[in-house]
Symmetry: none
Subunit: 225 residues, 2 copies
DNA sequence: GTCGGGGTTAAGAGAATGCTAAGCGCCGGT
DNA sequence: ACCGGCGCTTAGCATTCTCTTAACCCCGAC
């Protein structure tokens, strides 16, 4: 889910609301950044404000449609009704008139996803003896339910989504902690340690959580590389 | 499909347009007539103009909501923004700003129908020893009927529809309380507490209502994760 | 040996939650 | 119109839990 919206207040409100509902979110404050984000992240849905500072929203939409068919929900202020038509003609999947609540927006998003066939995974993630259900926020290891704190679960979930890949601490700070910049990487170490304890392993004898020195960490099933 | 709209031109335009698209339609020119039509015909959707000659549209909505949960799409002129908020707070499912085309209105109607469509379940919800009948608005726990206030029932029902999933308080405020923005999350806590009492459990010893710290709450059958 | 990374543990600050009680508005009865 | 009850929200306080920071240790590379 990518939100392209210039007003920081609105953007933040949307991100928070959508994140709370279990969407993985990212955002951009203008059209150019939005397009590059869209290409980089390949979100399942894009929420696009028409009133962007740099490029007209409809232009953004055209450029998007030139390369992908990611569903787009357009958000627009009232006095841009002509643009709504243009947006729909250029492949927008739905639109919402501001001001609108997050609930309404999310309903539209759900509807759009349903329409195009929601490919979002609803199945739990499985990595070896680990089963992670993001919707229930439960993690089961070899049949035993793990009791994880919020960050611990988010961390494990993020790594499980990328099982087998090395993930840098900086990336974790950005994606799991939602720190735009900086943040102490040490914090990640601490949480990793706790996670290892709860997974019944240690850094010396890792089973799932592997440190890759100077690079980051990797979650793999035991026995695999 | 019932259209409650005082302006004859608009009314006929809507009726004709909607009829042409295969909806069974009826109409009323004022609030009183609209309410009696709604009661008599039990339409699947109601299109409600806020600017009625006899009764304020929001009042009509309130009266409607007192007796039914038929989806309502509100139609409003531009300068009635406060009323939009009031309408949504009183249970409107969506709104459209005039002037708008029939196509647009119909899209909204479709979206609303789609949204409530899955909710038109006739079967009661069952979660462990809990049986919830949304139509009768009754909840039974282990054979005993629970005496729930309106909000308590809505809350329980919403959670039961998503049994096993974690739901955030903000989502609850949006979906159960119909607060577009903000709202005090403490309110949810209080209702949760009351619900727990009536379910014969406490936060320390939960059976159905589980707190997921920093995320939200989850309704599950006892014994399940 | 020394330096840079990591790993682990400990502890305090701050946030989130649970619950009681008070306040308030709405509605039905009189 | 007045009264009383009920349901909902707000306020406050106690309590629990999480996250971060800080400190110290270990290890491998140079």
């Amino acid at each position: 889910m990518l939100v392209i919206e210039d007003d920081p207040d609105v953007r933040y409100a949307l991100l928070r609301g959508l994140h709370d509902r279990g969407h993985a979110t990212s955002s951009a404050a203008n059209g150019i950044a939005g397009l590059s984000e869209a290409k980089r992240r390949e979100p399942d849905v894009i929420v696009l404000d028409l009133g962007l500072p740099d490029v007209d929203g409809v232009e953004v939409l055209k450029m998007l449609r030139a390369v992908s068919r990611i569903p787009v929900v357009v958000v627009t202020a009232r006095d841009e009704e002509r643009q709504i038509v243009a947006a729909l003609d250029n492949g927008a999947d739905d639109y919402v008139v501001k001001p609108c609540g997050v609930a309404q927006l999310e309903a539209r998003i759900r509807a759009v996803l349903r329409r195009v066939g929601d490919k979002r995974r609803v199945e739990p993630l499985v990595v070896g003896g680990l089963v992670i259900d993001p919707r229930a926020r439960t993690a089961v290891l070899d049949g035993d339910q793990l009791d994880l704190a919020a960050r611990e679960f988010d961390l494990l979930n993020y790594l499980a989504e990328r099982a087998g890949q090395v993930v840098s601490k900086r990336e974790l700070l950005a994606e799991v902690w939602h720190f735009a910049y900086g943040g102490a990487e040490k914090t990640v170490d601490v949480h990793m340690s706790w996670l290892r304890r709860k997974l019944g392993e240690s850094a010396q004898q890792p089973r799932y959580l592997h440190t890759v020195r100077r690079v980051g960490v990797k979650l793999t099933a035991p026995g695999e590389a």
